[in-house]
Amino acid sequence: MRLPEPLRHTWAVASKDLLIEFRSRTAIISAAMFVVLVLLVFTFARDPTAVAAIDLAPSILWVTLTFAAVLALNRAFQLELENQALDGLLLAPIGRSSIYLGKLIANLLFVGTVELIGVPLLALFFNISVWPYAAPLALVIVLATVGFVSVGTLFSAMTVRTRVSELLLAVLVLPFMIPPLMWAARATGPLLAGRPLSDITGWLKMLAAYDIVFVGLALLLFPATVNE
């Protein structure tokens, strides 16, 4: 069965980005190292006799994932700066939304990989049992990640061509990341304390609503960030 045209284009853009990433592996290894180091910073910046690891775990998890995501988001459009590759991509006979979705998927897989490395390390370093709650925790992480990566991908298309792109992206995207981050952190706390899933459905609904609204909005607005 052949996929409909826009989806094939989306996948073409995403797989191009992922292939570039896979060939060099610099960005993903740097991002993974960054996550390890942030976790180490937390380990040593904490007085283990004063604060229990389980109380701090949701905060550590979300601070680490937020910073890793902000750093990773610049990559998608930075790739297109060299040799005016973005012009080539825009001239290709594919829809603007396919370009955005392709970039979004590549970013999601990138950030997702970093998270896959980060969460087990968090469990290891802070001696927290994550495994029994793996499925609901994964759901929270996926919902939050889709939320902030969708906004971040849109913004990175704008900031990448400015002078202070990395700093500016962080300044623009963090206010948009904090609400989903707040809901996710509030949901992670009860989860890790072994509360039932029904306790956090409110937060999950907020996260899902945020995702739907901002992915839709970014699809509509993306053409304005690249059209001449």
Partner: protein
């Protein structure tokens, strides 16, 4: 320029009226029984809050129309509204703690409303930083419009999550689904203050709009001049 002068007049009148409203608030409006003097700040704080949020929504709406119509006037208005919104956000963030210290016993609490007002301020700052970082006028307008629309969409999320937190902040007493639970005298003073703040918003925005229009004229003149020199 006529528009700039009109803006100055409106702002001047609004500032005089603001002084008038405060005379009324301090001398002719009864003291609130529980909060005493501190409650007087309510006449400044709440109208500023309403206009800081409305300004964000107006930035968003102007941005939506800009993307469709590509009219530079809409972009100029959005930029002006964002700047005035920043000022009002500063007013909320300074008057809030002054009220909070005697009533809550703390200057700042990480309460949902306070936090999210801070976000509004950060959104405005980001918006203006983005405008400053892009040099091409067309690109600047498009980028700012994208960010303005996203900011407008974030505001309802902010509002919604206010009701999901246990909060220290007083719940809205005027703008709420049922009738306002405020004594008529206080409500009258408050409504006057809201009117004055609306006038202030209009005055500031007109001035700012006129200034960016003049700046654009200068920019085009400068380009014409440079073109001649090079040619």
């Amino acid at each position: 320029m006529r528009l700039l002068r009109a803006g100055r007049w409106i702002t001047g009148i609004a500032l005089l009226l603001l002084a008038g409203v405060y005379v009324r608030a301090l001398a002719y409006t009864p003291m609130e029984r529980m909060q005493g003097m501190a409650q007087k700040i309510f006449y400044l704080h709440v109208p500023a809050a309403i206009w800081a949020e409305t300004a964000m929504i107006l930035v968003g709406l102007a941005s939506v129309f800009y993307l469709f119509l590509k009219d530079p006037r809409l972009d100029r208005f959005a930029a002006a509204s964002a700047e005035v919104g920043t000022v009002f956000a500063c007013v909320i963030l300074t008057t809030g703690p002054i009220w909070g210290k005697p009533i809550w016993g703390t200057w700042w609490s990480w309460d949902a409303r306070l936090t999210l007002t801070l976000f509004l301020f950060l959104l405005y700052m980001g918006y203006m930083l983005l405008r400053g970082a892009v040099s091409d006028p067309g690109e600047r307008a498009r980028f700012a419009a994208v960010l303005g629309i996203c900011g407008m969409v974030l505001v309802p999320f902010i509002h919604f999550s206010v009701y999901m937190f246990r909060t220290l902040h007083p719940m809205p007493i005027v703008l709420k689904p049922s009738t306002p639970s405020l004594p008529p005298v206080m409500l009258a003073t408050w409504l006057m203050s809201l009117g004055v703040f609306s006038l202030l918003y209009v005055g500031f925005v007109i001035q700012r709009y006129a200034l960016s229009y003049l700046r654009e004229q200068l920019e085009t003149l400068g380009e014409v001049g440079r073109g001649k020199g090079e040619g």
